[in-house]
């Protein structure tokens, strides 16, 4: 016969459980803990390391034509800003970029609006994105040049193409992810159509929309720089891509790097100031993102 285990029966206790005396319930973090929590410092450290690595590699190869050092690039960058050339080129690119981005965002919103309001709209969105999203925007450039001529309109066309599909796809996925209960709550209070979309779906899908906006922004930059490299200037006012291309032709490699750095710097600023702020005042505050 096997023995059955029985736990022992023990004495009962009841305590008053007063608040603990002399124990600190809340403690401030140490300075180091607070410091290391700032992503800024960690990222600055990474950037500094990369710059040092670059400088070392450049000095080791010792070939200014192939790989100018970090310091040379920085000088070219500062020189470009001082002379105003880099700034005007950047401004020219940014103006085109923002126009294309705005149109792309609007188009994506209209498309997803159609997709949430009817089944045929949903099929349209799914078919169009499946067809056109994998198509590189730059592949449409020859066609755009044919249609819109050698100018700003062609650039805007390819930027819209590169922004619209990924953003529409993300926004739609976000709308799909809004809980059914939340939609029903909205409808319960008489919201429908566009009001339901604006009051419930858009804020509910904001995490996806923001990530779509980020992807769209990156795609827009890539497309614009590539397009400028391919067909260069628009009515005498070339952008950053043209600046890079021109300087490469003249073998000013340090200026090529300066042009690339300008793209990167703008990317960092938009990501860390623009999108990060947007996320902080919305998603993080609402507990929709960690």
């Amino acid at each position: 016969m096997s023995a059955l285990l029985e736990p022992p029966i023990r004495q009962e206790f009841v305590y008053a459980a007063p608040p603990p005396a002399g124990v600190i319930v809340e403690r401030p973090l140490s300075r180091w803990q607070r410091w290391s929590q700032h992503a800024l410092w960690r990222k600055a450290f990474i950037l500094l390391s990369l710059a040092l690595l670059w400088e070392g590699a450049a000095r080791w190869t010792h070939n200014d034509l192939l790989l100018p050092s970090f310091i040379q690039t920085a000088q070219a960058f500062i020189g470009g800003i001082a002379s105003g050339e880099l700034l005007t080129r950047t401004a020219a690119s940014l103006v085109v970029l923002l126009q294309g981005y705005a149109v792309g965002v609007l188009a994506a919103f209209v498309l997803t609006l159609l997709a949430v309001s009817s089944r045929i709209g949903r099929d349209l969105l799914e078919t169009l994105t499946a067809m056109l999203n994998p198509l590189p925007a730059i592949a449409l450039l020859p066609l755009a040049l044919l249609w819109f001529g050698l100018g700003r309109a062609s650039l805007i066309f390819v930027i819209v193409h590169s922004v619209m599909w990924p953003l529409a796809l993300n926004t739609y996925a976000g709308f799909q992810g809004v809980p059914e209960t939340l939609r029903m709550a909205g409808r319960n209070y008489g919201l429908n159509g566009l009001r339901l979309v604006l009051h419930i779906l858009v804020p509910g899908a904001l995490p996806s929309i923001v990530s779509g906006l980020k992807i769209g922004w990156a795609f827009a930059w890539r497309t614009l720089i590539a397009a400028e490299l391919v067909f260069g200037t628009t009515s005498g006012q070339g952008g950053l891509g043209w600046y890079i291309f021109q300087n490469r032709n003249e073998l000013y490699t340090d200026k090529v790097f300066a042009g690339l750095a300008a793209v990167i710097v703008i990317g960092l600023i938009v990501e860390n100031i623009g999108f990060r702020t947007l996320e902080r005042v919305t998603l993080k505050r609402w507990g929709m993102q960690r």
């Binding site: 029903m184 319960n188 209070y189 609402w286 507990g287």
Partner: protein, 281 residues
């Protein structure tokens, strides 16, 4: 406890029912088939009722509530509020759901309670704010007006949902297993709070639950539904029970009677239930 200084009013039963559900059958569609959720269900809800829809999973009680709310159109039969047929959701029938995500996370507690008042264009901003403050205090959340829902506990979130619903002063308050996702202690507390609010305000309530005890404690009348598809098994009174009577002999008797009604149904319907698909809703 001292007796209340006012006397109770019990209207004669001959009055028009506030909500009238007649021979309602509901169906929902899956990829392969249409499934009947409820079959030929009729009941009346009068003003001031705490009407409970009770049944096991798959009896279509949530579907019924959603049909009353106007989210689901009945396959057959009719649902009418004060004689007017129900076609769509409306702020006269506010729903409190089980899920916590019924509160938009981007709105603070105050904004959440104000939101339906503004969305339905009932009040202007100032009046909505005042009323929201009043109802937030009523459910015991004064001081949490500026908190976002993700910082609140489950019970507090449901309180916000209740405050939001009551602030609309709906004709009927529809509650779909509102306390099912709460822990047992919080659930008990919320049942007390709901009873207290009803004692004070005498709103009309339709309450869905799968807990016999909760049905007896919360409701004054219980509609018992059998599963697959939901049919009316019984309509019982439970006005004599409250939170204080849980554990009494009569309470136990009523509880086991309901249990028996549900259990008998299950044994006879077992072969049918096994062949039916998943539970409704």
């Amino acid at each position: 406890m001292n007796a209340p200084a006012f006397h109770l009013v019990r209207p004669p039963i001959a009055l028009e029912p506030l909500l009238s559900v007649k021979h309602v059958s509901l169906e929902y569609r899956t990829e392969q088939r249409t499934v009947r959720a409820t079959h030929d269900v009729s009941f009346d809800v009068f003003r001031g009722d705490r009407f409970v829809l009770l049944g096991p999973s798959g009896c279509g009680k949530s579907s019924l509530l959603k049909a009353v709310a106007g989210f689901v159109a009945p396959r057959a039969g009719s649902i009418a509020m004060q004689g007017q047929p129900i076609h769509q959701p409306g702020p006269d029938r506010v729903v409190v759901f089980q899920e916590f995500d019924q509160l938009p996370p981007w709105k603070t507690v105050l904004e959440n309670v104000m939101f339906p008042l503004l969305a339905s264009k009932r009040l202007d901003k100032q009046a909505a704010r005042e009323r929201a403050h009043h109802w937030i205090a009523k459910v015991g959340l004064a001081g949490f007006e500026d908190a976002h829902p993700h910082t609140l506990s489950g019970g507090m979130k449901q309180r916000v949902a209740i405050a939001r619903a009551l602030a609309m002063q709906p004709e009927v308050l529809l509650m779909d297993e509102p306390f099912a996702a709460l822990d047992a202690l919080t659930r008990r507390k919320m049942q007390e709070e709901l009873s207290r609010l009803w004692e004070e305000l005498r709103f009309t309530l339709v309450f869905v639950t799968h807990s016999i005890e909760e049905a007896l404690v919360v409701g004054n009348r219980i509609l018992l539904l059998s599963p697959h598809p939901g049919r009316v098994r019984a309509e019982l009174n439970s006005h004599q029970f409250g939170l204080h009577s849980a554990g009494s002999a009569e309470f136990q008797a009523a509880s086991s009677r309901i249990h028996g009604l549900l259990f008998d149904e299950e044994t006879t319907a077992a072969p049918q239930a096994a062949s039916a698909q998943r539970e409704a809703v």
